[in-house]
């Protein structure tokens, strides 16, 4: 249970992870593994610990006990600087509200992490333009993200995450603030581009129609991973 698809190596794994906030336990021995190239939906009711699991896998939270492994190496024992570097170079993030800088343009937002990664300015903006174009936003690069619709802003967030060329993408309720049709379009783009680029994805959602875009689901209940729906996508 909670094992990656047969025939593919594990890229990220939580082993018996516990995490509490004050007296409140969020994870109580959670275990989950995701194979290279797999898209796994982490599901569960509100407060079940699914977002905490994502944050532990991404090295944003450190577990109280247990281990997190990325690409064959312990992640949770690395320094804050090492984990930050990993998040800037190997991980991509898409959150419910995009977390874009509203005063900056769409192109600035996509280019920003590339500049932080020390890409040259010209190359960063060229890549930003290419990714915005792929996400159907070729004509929106100069617009401030605060002026974009929810669906457009979320596509900018997807472009920003993918432009970095991450090995692993974390998406936390990526369509949570969108209407059904817009959410569907974002999910279609997000998953098709991830598959095309062979990016592994951990997708946290409470929405079963969003989870249906994944290869496999794991269920989190009361801080424990309780069920695994197996892989069906071929």
């Amino acid at each position: 249970m909670n094992t990656p698809s047969a025939g593919r190596g594990t890229l990220i794994e939580a082993r018996d992870v516990t995490k509490s906030f004050g007296q409140t336990p969020a994870l109580r021995g959670a275990a989950a593994a995701v194979a290279q190239g797999e898209i796994v939906a982490v599901m569960g009711p509100s407060g079940s610990g699914k977002s905490t699991l994502l944050h532990c896998l991404a090295g944003i939270f450190l577990p109280d006990s247990g281990e997190v492994w990325f690409d064959g190496r312990r992640l949770d024992t690395r320094t804050e600087a090492e984990r930050t570097r990993l998040r800037r170079t190997a991980f991509g993030f898409v959150f419910q509200f995009g977390n874009l800088v509203p005063e900056l343009t769409a192109a600035d937002n996509v280019a920003l992490p590339l500049l932080l990664k020390r890409e040259g300015r010209k190359a960063a903006y060229q890549q930003a333009a290419q990714w915005l174009d792929r996400l159907g936003l070729g004509d929106k690069g100069a617009r401030r993200t605060g002026e974009l619709s929810g669906g457009e802003a979320q596509r900018v967030a997807v472009a920003r995450a993918l432009a970095l060329g991450p090995r692993l993408l974390f998406a936390d309720e990526p369509t949570g603030s969108l209407d059904s049709l817009t959410g569907e379009k974002v999910m279609k783009l997000l998953t098709s581009l991830a598959r095309e680029q062979r990016i592994t994805m951990v997708l946290v959602t409470h929405d079963v129609r969003v989870a249906a875009y994944a290869d496999r689901e794991v269920m989190v209940r009361d801080g424990v991973v309780t069920a695994d729906a197996g892989t069906v996508r071929t």
Binding site: A212, Y213, A229, G230, V232
Partner: protein, 174 residues
């Protein structure tokens, strides 16, 4: 199926063969009608005054008859299309019976619900893939299935959360 065939006749008078082809193309979704079903239905519609058969026609192949919809038939199609379908959960009786029986027999209802959940999610993934690859018609049909499965899943999740109370009630009721 009967009213769908009658509706196709309203579109244009048809031979049984053409009617079956049209039905299979637009409505069968992998479950084509048999010729027997089509001709039995046409005979019943003719008997009930909702369709009429023309005289036998002789061509290169076997003898055949063209069917027309009558005014009574057209009125029936109109009434059917105007009336909302009875909202009924397709699986609720089965899911409910299994959970209740499992609790009554002291069997693990949570395992059954988990298994049902996995089956539902698997079907939802298949329908989502169909949407990715298919036409707009496929998308509309897949959406219909997805929303129904989602409703079942909500019921499954809520029932799973209530299993403790339900077990107590089942034990008290013994």
């Amino acid at each position: 199926m009967t009213l769908t065939l009658l509706g196709l006749l309203e579109r244009e008078p048809s031979y049984g063969y053409d009617l079956k082809r049209d039905y299979d193309t637009h409505f069968a979704r992998g479950k084509p009608l048999s010729f027997g079903q089509v001709y039995t239905t046409l005979a019943r519609l003719a008997r009930d005054g909702k369709a009429v058969a023309g005289p036998p026609e002789h061509g290169d192949g076997p003898e055949r008859k063209r069917y027309w919809i009558t005014e009574a038939g057209a009125a029936e199609v109109d009434a059917w299309l105007s009336r909302p379908a009875e909202p009924e959960p397709h699986l609720q009786p089965v899911l409910f019976a299994k959970v209740t029986l499992a609790l009554m027999l002291g069997r693990p209802a949570d395992s059954y619900l988990d298994a049902q959940r996995v089956a539902h999610l698997k079907r939802m993934r298949e329908l989502t893939q169909l949407k990715d690859a298919g036409s707009l018609t496929d998308t509309l049909l897949a959406d219909y299935g997805l929303f129904h499965l989602e409703a079942d899943l909500r019921w499954i999740d809520l029932t799973a959360a209530r299993l403790g109370e339900l077990k107590e009630e089942a034990v008290r009721g013994r």
